[in-house]
């Protein structure tokens, strides 16, 4: 929201410029908020899959969208904003020391699943066991493989993933195939 100018002292031309500028900012804000609504969840999912807590994830998401606002305000390129958002998310997540937190979360998460009561306890238990096994496999993957997987799950193409993570196309493709092979093996058991 931008504040109106007093205007009394301003020349009409200046006032018109100010009004245009205000409109532009309002439109930009609306655009950024719409993108926030569209991408908060995917970004949070990605950040949490690479080990950030929800609290840290929310903070990073705020930073991302403020950066987006400034990026667009400076008239920077707006093609492939999805790739841009994930790239910034990746860089900001790197800055956080999350390894220990990830491990804590993983343990807490596994516990949550184990005690989660369901409408049909037996089915629930069985599906929980599979879930737990899958979760364990995914969490045992190297961080880079996990990142590739969750970016792909959020709909990014190989080229976009490669750009976000600074990898070659071949590395992305191999990483995904390797991870899915492990998941497939875990599901078989």
């Amino acid at each position: 929201m931008s504040l109106p100018f007093t205007g009394s002292a301003a020349l009409p031309a200046l006032r018109a410029t100010a009004a245009t500028e205000r409109d532009r900012r309002d439109r930009l804000e609306q655009e950024v908020v719409a993108l926030f609504d569209q991408f908060r969840e995917p970004l949070m999912r990605y950040l949490s899959s690479v080990g950030l807590t929800f609290a840290d994830g929310e903070e990073v998401v705020q930073e991302i969208f403020l950066a987006l606002f400034q990026h667009l305000e400076r008239g920077k390129p707006r093609d492939n904003l999805r790739g841009w958002l994930f790239r910034v998310a990746h860089n900001l997540a790197l800055k956080r020391h999350y390894r220990t937190r990830r491990e804590l979360e993983a343990r807490a998460g596994a516990k949550d699943l184990a005690v989660d009561p369901g409408p049909n306890p037996e089915d629930q238990m069985e599906s929980n066991q599979t879930q737990r096994r899958l979760l364990a496999v995914v969490q045992a993957l190297p961080l880079q493989d996990r990142k590739c997987l969750s970016l792909r799950a959020e709909g990014l193409r190989y080229r976009e993933i490669a750009e976000v993570l600074g990898l070659s196309l071949g590395t992305v493709s191999l990483s995904l195939a390797r991870s899915l092979a492990r998941i497939a093996r875990a599901a078989e058991r």
Partner: protein, 268 residues
């Protein structure tokens, strides 16, 4: 690929599933899949691994994700904060970290008291003030007060009620708005009108320069009022929004009212 001992790699199968093959490669891979059950079965296994992963990826997450309303409101407030900061490259207002993020989920919007004042045409243009002016009550057009919509419980469960320092750039902006840009910064303390301990926001509309030289109604007196109001809010004798309103309207009047006195009580 026509040779019967030849099988596709996981990578090739996955690239096909993901539509990442060139037209030529795709043709070869499809031809092989057409004739090789083994590779087709492998394709299915990888497809179902994708399904498993996506389900887990979402289930693990969806039930736990806090609603978007609070973070959205915070984002809007921060964008507005950017607009109010003269230097776009300046450090933005950090989200109020003392209000735990778990509690931020309870935030369902950001209320800027006095938005109407602002919208009705009173801008934040500098107004001329004498340089050595003593300010013991904020200008309500410049500092109407701004709050986060936090619950009483959130406010009262904050352990650390010490205000964090206001960034120098923001302080300078406040000074400019009050027309005291060239005054000695040590003569003033940039203070929150509605203290964050009572749900006040990190927002320039909630900041004002309180003169250190104010002989009677000075910062320690206001701190005492804040402590008093917070106690009353937390023991349930005063409504949080009422406390915020009173302190934003006229903190000196609020002091007189809640301490039943016309002048500040002796230092506590």
């Amino acid at each position: 690929m026509q040779h019967e001992d030849f099988h596709l790699s996981d990578q090739q199968i996955l690239q096909d599933i993901d539509g990442e093959l060139s037209t030529h490669e795709e043709k070869l891979v499809r031809a092989h899949l057409g004739e090789c059950w083994k590779c087709r079965a492998r394709r299915q296994e990888l497809e179902s691994a994708i399904g498993d992963f996506v389900r887990m990826h979402q289930q693990e997450f969806d039930a736990k994700l806090p609603p978007a309303a609070g973070p959205r409101a915070l984002l809007k407030a921060q964008i507005a904060g950017l607009a109010a900061t003269p230097n776009r490259n300046a450090r933005r207002f950090a989200p109020p970290r003392r209000v735990a993020w778990e509690l931020a989920a309870a935030i369902c919007g950001v209320l800027v008291i006095g938005v109407f004042l602002a919208l009705s045409g009173i801008g934040r243009q500098s107004q001329p003030h004498a340089h050595a002016v003593v300010i013991s009550i904020p200008d309500s057009t410049l500092t109407p007060g701004a709050t986060l919509l936090v619950s009483r419980r959130a406010v009262c469960s904050q352990e650390n009620t010490k205000n964090k320092p206001v960034p120098t750039l923001v302080q300078r902006k406040v000074f400019e708005e009050y027309g005291i840009a060239r005054a000695d910064p040590r003569a003033y303390e940039v203070d929150y009108l509605i203290t964050p301990a009572l749900g006040g926001a990190d927002d320039i509309h909630n900041l004002w320069p309180h003169s250190n030289s104010a002989a009677v109604w000075n910062a320690p007196v206001k701190d005492a009022l804040e402590d008093r109001l917070r106690e009353m809010v937390c023991d349930g004798t005063l409504d949080l929004t009422e406390a915020q309103r009173e302190i934003a309207n006229n903190w000196i009047a609020a002091y007189k009212k809640y301490f039943h006195t016309d002048k500040p009580l002796a230092e506590r």
